[in-house]
């Protein structure tokens, strides 16, 4: 077996080790490279920036703990921005296993910004049915969520004053890790109830949402940890996402180098194979 062959069949656990180290070292010794802002993320930021005080902002945290590292920083940055702009914030989730996480995120940011539950914001919790929940909220918000996460009746809450359904909501952002997520909020929500919609999602989902972004069905897209880092940069409050970007840089470069090495070996092998083939005939 030649050196190239041996390198191509390397035990994958060695690669696992390289990746582990490339993630760990920058986390322990951060560098802090600058991050450029993309127009997709700016779309969301600018729209929230343009909303007048007391506008209604609905954030649907449609993810579970598996996507926490990507979508928690996004939700924190968005909530900080919305609270800073004194918007009325409605939080909810369509993913049952994300309920506890969503509650934690909202409570934590609200506390940090000195906001009061019921007056400045409300967390509606989770309800089953996925897309049916969106339609029902579009028809009658109080039918879909008769009580909030804490069991208080939603009717009569000061933060929900003047809101009967999704038509009265100014801006909805769905932070989606899969189905139901951003697409469902368009098809079963915005299509009929005509609120403005923005999207945030994991890196896996992001490429699939570009057609909706192009056609204006969503007015901005925050994609993965990079998107979260950009948003943290925009609101000038750096958090977990910016901190993680160095590790991202290291692992990405490591993978790129691995791919290039692999191809060099592969092409050199193919070349020798071809030469041998020629000499034999």
């Amino acid at each position: 077996m030649t050196f190239a062959e041996r390198m191509l069949k390397i035990d994958r656990r060695i690669i696992f080790l390289v990746i582990g180290l490339c993630t760990l070292l920058p986390l322990l010794y951060p560098v802090g490279l600058p991050i450029k802002i993309s127009p997709e993320v700016r779309g969301v930021y600018d729209y929230i920036e343009s909303l007048p005080e007391d506008s209604v902002f609905l954030l649907s945290l449609d993810f579970d703990p598996a996507s926490k590292p990507e979508l928690q920083p996004q939700s924190i940055a968005l909530l900080r921005h919305a609270f800073r702009k004194n918007l009325r914030v409605i939080g909810m989730t369509l993913w049952v296993s994300g309920t506890g996480l969503a509650d934690q995120i909202i409570t934590q940011v609200a506390k940090e910004m000195g906001k009061e539950n019921g007056k400045d914001y409300v967390f509606l919790g989770w309800s089953p049915g996925g897309t049916a929940v969106i339609i029902n909220m579009g028809q009658d918000l109080y039918g879909a969520f008769p009580a909030d996460y804490n069991g208080r009746a939603t009717k009569g809450l000061p933060v929900l004053q003047g809101i009967t359904n999704l038509r009265d909501v100014n801006y909805v952002i769905s932070l989606g890790a899969g189905v139901p997520g951003v697409e469902a909020w368009y098809v079963f929500g915005k299509d009929k109830y005509k609120f403005e919609l923005g999207g945030g999602c994991t890196g896996v989902m992001a490429p699939g949402l570009y057609p909706l972004l192009r056609s204006g069905q969503i007015n901005g897209l925050i994609g993965g940890l990079r998107g979260a880092a950009e948003y943290e940069g925009l609101i000038g409050q750096k958090g977990k996402a910016v901190a993680g970007m160095d590790a991202q840089s290291a692992t990405h470069l490591a993978i790129i180098v691995l791919v290039i090495i692999c191809n060099v070996f592969y092409l050199s092998l193919r070349k020798t194979a071809r030469q041998q083939g020629q000499s034999r005939t």
């Binding site: 696992f16 993630t23 760990l24 009929k192 896996v204 056609s215 940890l225």
Partner: protein
């Protein structure tokens, strides 16, 4: 620091390391953690469903607002559960028929308007722009997705990929060229998705490692360190044992 936080840190660290041990190979530690995961998440779903559906959506509206019509969905839901009674299992079909019927009905017009009309509408654009006062012009700016050159590229991409998934004609002659263009576009999109996904997966790892770093702190009693040693020790012992086991398959 409260005692439950410290215990929590130890439990979380232990479970995290057990699952990571799968990277070495499938082993009992991983299996315990994994089955616990399934059990806990199923339990969590059941509790949340009870709290939301039975308490908030059924009981309270019926008792407080006398919404007796809610008994209809309850009946449909119960019909669904007849699946477990072999003799009455056919009754569950009524429930599925209802859900699937409503779901299909809701889907047809919404899919057409959101994903067919909207997408076609945005693809059909004039290839040249009419700038007021300057007349028609062809814009070359690649970075502006709405520029003329990008409009053409999008049109070519959409058409060729649609054609690639066309099964009624053989891909020969000019069709072959179009289908090949389609496959090249597809490969670029897959490559881009792969590249983007790398970041998604790495983020997950970063998230877990951040927790492990936090839990290596002395205030928690350094669970990361001790449990790491323990996990590796257990793996070594287990591999030694199975190594001496003659029944091991080749």
């Amino acid at each position: 620091m409260p005692i439950e936080t410290i215990i929590g840190a130890w439990v979380a660290t232990g479970l995290t390391l057990f699952i990571f041990s799968f990277l070495y190979k499938d082993n009992p530690l991983f299996k315990v953690a994994e089955n616990l995961y399934v059990g806990v998440s199923v339990g969590y779903t059941i509790v949340k469903t009870y709290d939301t559906v039975i308490v908030n959506l059924i009981w309270k509206p019926m008792v407080d607002n006398k919404e007796w019509s809610l008994l209809i969905p309850v009946a449909i839901g119960l019909l669904m559960l007849t699946r477990y009674v072999p003799k009455a299992a056919w009754l569950s079909r009524y429930a599925f028929a209802f859900i699937v019927g409503v779901g299909s009905g809701l889907a047809i017009p919404r899919t057409i308007s959101s994903f067919i009309l909207k997408q076609v509408e945005d693809t059909v654009r004039p290839l040249i722009m009419l700038v007021p006062g300057e007349g028609v012009s062809f814009t070359w700016n690649l970075l502006n997705p709405a520029s003329s050159v990008n409009t053409i590229i999008i049109l070519v991409g959409v058409s060729s990929v649609l054609f690639y998934f066309f099964f009624s004609v053989e891909h020969t002659g000019p069709g072959k060229a179009v289908a090949r263009t389609g496959i090249l576009f597809l490969m670029i999109a897959f490559g881009a998705a792969f590249g983007y996904t790398v970041m998604a997966r790495m983020s997950l790892l970063i998230g877990r490692l951040t927790d492990l770093i936090e839990f290596s702190d002395a205030s928690y009693g350094r669970p990361t360190l001790w449990l790491l040693i323990l996990t590796i020790g257990a793996l070594v012992v287990m591999s030694l044992r199975s190594g001496s086991n003659p029944r091991e398959e080749k």
